[in-house]
């Protein structure tokens, strides 16, 4: 639980002020005291509420690496429970940068929002579809009996990915009931309780679940698609107009790239970061027997953390648009060349060599 | 010299006349009962004299001062249901009027304690109203009215909600206290026997709009005793008033 470390000093300062000066003054003194406490700019970055194994390099980049770059302090990383909220706050100017899901970013951009994708928070996806093998043998079977699949929310990347995967297998997705269940922990519980037939979850959660019964992975979407974008680093075009923000964008990407490279090269470093930044207690305490295979899959088979984010091109993104259209999440009128801005990524790569 | 002069009071509620040109006088030390059927307007007259209800016309003059439409000033009121403040102890309830007047704490509690003793509630100073019986609550109500030392005591069917035994006891108590501190009393009741037993003078009111059917001076000396209720004259007066009221109701 890392946001505590980031916010600790600030909040303690605030509490001290509160005791002395009463409620209202904190609102004005809060930011002042934080800039005294830390040298350098504090970026506000919205991320998903939970940091799973696949999110950890992004978290580590922000929390361990960014403050090493001169002029930047450890950012205010702000976990966000509702995925679309990440994009909304970036558009509203409440956050500098967002670690957003691709679906809500694409949908907002298509609707005319002034958004730019400037980096990847991880490439591809580590989501897999898990079933209780005692009850369910195949996805075809789920569709045939009108079964239920739990996802985070209708229209998000997970939904679209499943939708596309079902179509590729020749299954009519309309025969499946998709229901929204908030957290991946709750989705896993719904599967254990037999309330749903299949659940997409991160690969390390699937590994954990297999210890509790005859649970099996029926579908690995990254195998179907080759590369399936799921989370990207975004900001608004307006934010990028100012020079200090351009510098901040490059610095942030450098921090993330550094973390990606360390992750790919050094299992020990990755494990260490996981122990610090993973949301789940079970994951933080995981042993090598559990973690090493997960790390191998993520870094090699899935290639979730490309050293140069080289997969972030309009052409690569164009490959996933048809699935979004089929799922009804996009009309397909989106201009990817305008949305994806490689300027800052290229600058960051240059500065890192 | 204490004196109450109420003249030419008129009062209507939404075009229904309740009181038409009513006047009355009370002399120092006089106990006057206002007797009449329920809802005839005698309580309204009492409220007008108390200042809680404004009159459409007419004046109320107490001890030479025009107090029409004003509360307080020389009047103490005993309400039908005692209406004690539940958040005040018996003693604090009695002291309420003095507290409103701004009398200091030790002084007002001393006075209140005196009147609480007078109504026979020594030892109940710190009791909450809900811990007292109905009769005890009304004793507190009486003490509360006496405690501000009014020249005129207004009582609105104060024993109406009590059982017969308690009422008889309280009637005697009231007379005993009143004789210790004689002041003018206006006592609203619909009990003929109660009026005859307590009052020096009775004003018998008609049904609405109220006017005085008969004024009657009670021909008994004080102190009075329970036995007078069996006196032939008492019974005769009681029947006369009863017939008068019944006749008025059917008119």
């Amino acid at each position: 639980m890392t946001m505590f470390e980031v916010m600790n000093r600030r909040s303690i300062l605030r509490a001290g002020v509160a005791a002395g000066a009463g409620g209202l003054s904190i609102i004005t003194l809060g930011p002042v005291s934080s800039s005294f406490a830390q040298a350098g700019r504090v970026l506000k970055v919205n991320t998903l509420a939970s940091a799973a194994a696949v999110n950890v390099p992004m978290q580590a980049g922000l929390k361990s690496e960014l403050a090493k770059i001169p002029g930047f302090a450890s950012p205010e990383v702000r976990p966000t429970q509702k995925i679309p909220q990440i994009v909304q706050e970036v558009i509203a100017g409440g956050a500098d940068l967002g670690d957003a899901d691709v679906a809500s970013t694409l949908a907002a951009a298509e609707a005319g929002a002034d958004l730019k994708i400037i980096g990847l928070s991880y490439s591809n996806t580590s989501q897999v579809v898990v079933v209780n093998a005692d009850k369910t043998k195949s996805l075809e079977e789920v569709a045939a009996k009108g079964g239920t699949i739990a996802i985070n929310s209708i229209g998000d990347f997970m939904y679209v990915m499943l939708f596309g995967a079902l179509i590729k297998r020749g299954i009519d997705p309309k025969k499946v009931n998709f229901i929204e269940i908030g957290s991946s922990g709750d989705r896993a519980r719904a599967l254990i309780g037999g309330r749903v037939d299949a659940v997409p979850m991160h690969i390390e959660q699937a590994a954990e679940l297999t210890r509790r019964g005859n649970y099996q992975i029926l579908e690995r979407p990254w195998q179907e698609y080759g590369n399936w974008f799921s989370a990207v680093v975004i900001t608004s075009g307006k934010w990028l107009e100012r020079d200090e923000n351009k510098a901040a964008a490059v610095a942030t990407l450098k921090a993330i790239l550094t973390s990606f490279r360390k992750t790919n090269k050094d299992y020990g470093w990755y494990k260490d970061q996981l122990g610090k930044y993973a949301s789940s207690k079970e994951l933080r305490a995981a042993d090598d027997a559990f973690l090493k295979p997960v790390w191998e899959t993520l870094t090699t088979e899935i290639a979730a953390f490309p050293d140069h984010m080289q997969t972030m091109t309009p052409d690569e993104f164009a490959k996933i648009i048809p699935a979004y259209k089929e799922a009804g999440a996009l009309k397909g009128t989106i201009d990817l060349n305008k949305l994806i801005d490689r300027t800052y990524l290229e600058q960051a790569n240059k500065e890192l060599t | 010299m204490a004196h109450l002069n109420v003249s030419s009071i008129c009062k209507s509620f939404e075009n229904t006349p309740v009181l038409l040109d009513q006047s009355l006088e009370v002399q120092e030390g006089e106990f006057v009962a206002l007797l009449g059927p329920s809802g005839c307007g005698k309580s309204t007259l009492l409220q007008i004299i108390n200042g809680l209800v404004p009159a459409d016309r007419g004046t109320v003059v107490l001890d030479g001062k025009d107090i029409t439409g004003k509360t307080g000033a020389g009047r103490g009121m005993v309400f039908q249901g005692a209406d004690l403040f539940p958040w005040r102890t018996a003693l604090e309830n009695v002291a309420f009027g003095l507290e409103v007047m701004g009398v200091g704490k030790s002084e007002r509690l001393k006075q209140a304690s005196h009147y609480l003793n007078l109504v026979g509630l020594r030892g109940f100073e710190n009791a909450w109203p809900h811990q007292l019986s109905g009769g005890m609550q009304q004793r507190v109500g009486i003490a509360r009215a006496f405690c501000i030392r009014p020249s005129l005591l207004l009582m609105d069917e104060p024993f109406g909600a009590l059982d017969v035994q308690t009422r008889d006891v309280l009637q005697d108590e009231l007379v005993r206290i009143w004789e210790a501190e004689r002041k003018m009393v206006l006592f609203v009741t619909h009990g003929i026997e109660e009026a005859l037993y307590l009052a020096d003078r009775i004003l018998v009111f008609s049904k609405r709009p109220a006017h005085v059917l008969r004024e009657l001076v009670v021909p008994y000396e004080r102190p009075r005793h329970e036995s007078m209720k069996l006196d032939p004259l008492f019974l005769q007066l009681r029947r006369e008033i009863s017939d008068l009221l019944r006749h008025d109701m059917n008119a």
Binding site: M1, M3, F4, M7, R14, A15, A18, G23, I26, I27, G30, A49, S50, A52, R78, P79, T80, Q81, K82, Q85, Q88, E89, A92, G94, G182, S183, G185, A188, R189, I192, G193, Q205, R212, S279, S280, K281, E282 | N50, G51, L52, T71, G72, A73, R75, M77, F79, G81, D83, F85, P86, W87, R88, F96, E99, V100, M101, W128, H130, Q131, I148
Partner: protein
């Protein structure tokens, strides 16, 4: 005689715990952790500094919004209960806003005011103040007109009637509004913090990710204990401050 209902209380709790234990053992800790597992998780959670820090930050942020809600809600409620024109203006808003749950407004508020103290304070205030307003309005309206008449006939002016009748008559309802408001305030701050993954709400989110439900239940049990001890404390203060009301309700 006096310990008898307590004993029944205890037996009731024990019975529920036994049933819970049996159900938990059948369902497994991923679906329903047993009381024993939750107890173990509780000890572990409480010995973790993060929980205390998160709880502390959440509580003082909540207190600001809550005290504001009382400070504004109580006078507003009294005004609405006693002055018909104020009631006519405010009542429609109050009855509309009281049905708005924290979960419905948090996303909008995050966009409007960011994620700082302003957010938590506003959410707690907006969710709590209307419960206080409605409770106090009803109480102020139902202040006995007969007692007001008594005070009036003893020549108490408007201010003295307010001071000697309305305020003391409201006192028990103030304490009730404060208790009910506290529970709503606590629920609001937990909801808000779960949205922004901060402090205690963040801990609840993260506990939800674990396959075992024991850590989550432990956090919920801590919240319950906070809520119960706060309302108990307030009840005790209320009884101390208004012994007449305490003694009346006890006698019933």
């Amino acid at each position: 005689m006096k310990s008898h209902p307590r004993l029944l209380n205890l037996l009731g709790i024990l019975l529920v715990l036994v049933l819970w234990q049996m159900a938990g053992q059948r369902l497994g800790d991923a679906l329903l952790a047993t009381p024993v597992q939750v107890g173990r998780a509780l000890v572990e959670t409480l010995s973790d500094g993060l929980v205390w820090a998160g709880l502390w930050r959440m509580m003082w942020q909540m207190m600001i919004g809550y005290l504001l809600a009382l400070g504004i809600g109580v006078p507003l409620g009294i005004a609405m209960g006693r002055i018909p024109s104020v009631d006519a203006v405010v009542k429609p808003w109050a009855s509309m806003f009281i049905v708005v749950s924290a979960a419905a407004i948090v996303p909008l508020f995050i966009i409007l005011m960011g994620r700082g103290l302003l957010l938590s304070t506003s959410i707690v205030f907006v969710v709590t103040v209307w419960y206080v307003v409605i409770a106090i309005t009803e109480a102020a309206r139902s202040v006995s007109p007969r007692l007001l008449n008594v005070a009036h006939s003893f020549a108490a002016d408007d201010f003295k009637r307010f001071r000697y009748v309305i305020l003391p008559a409201l006192h028990p309802y103030l304490m009730i509004a404060a208790r009910v408001g506290f529970v709503h305030a606590l629920r609001a701050i937990v909801t808000a913090e779960m949205f922004i993954g901060a402090d205690y709400g963040g801990l609840l989110n993260n506990a939800g990710l674990d396959l075992s439900t024991a850590p989550l239940f432990a956090l919920i049990v801590i919240l319950m204990m906070v809520s119960i001890s706060a309302t108990k404390l307030m009840r005790w203060i209320a009884d101390y401050a208004a012994p007449w009301y305490a003694s009346r309700t006890r006698d019933r």
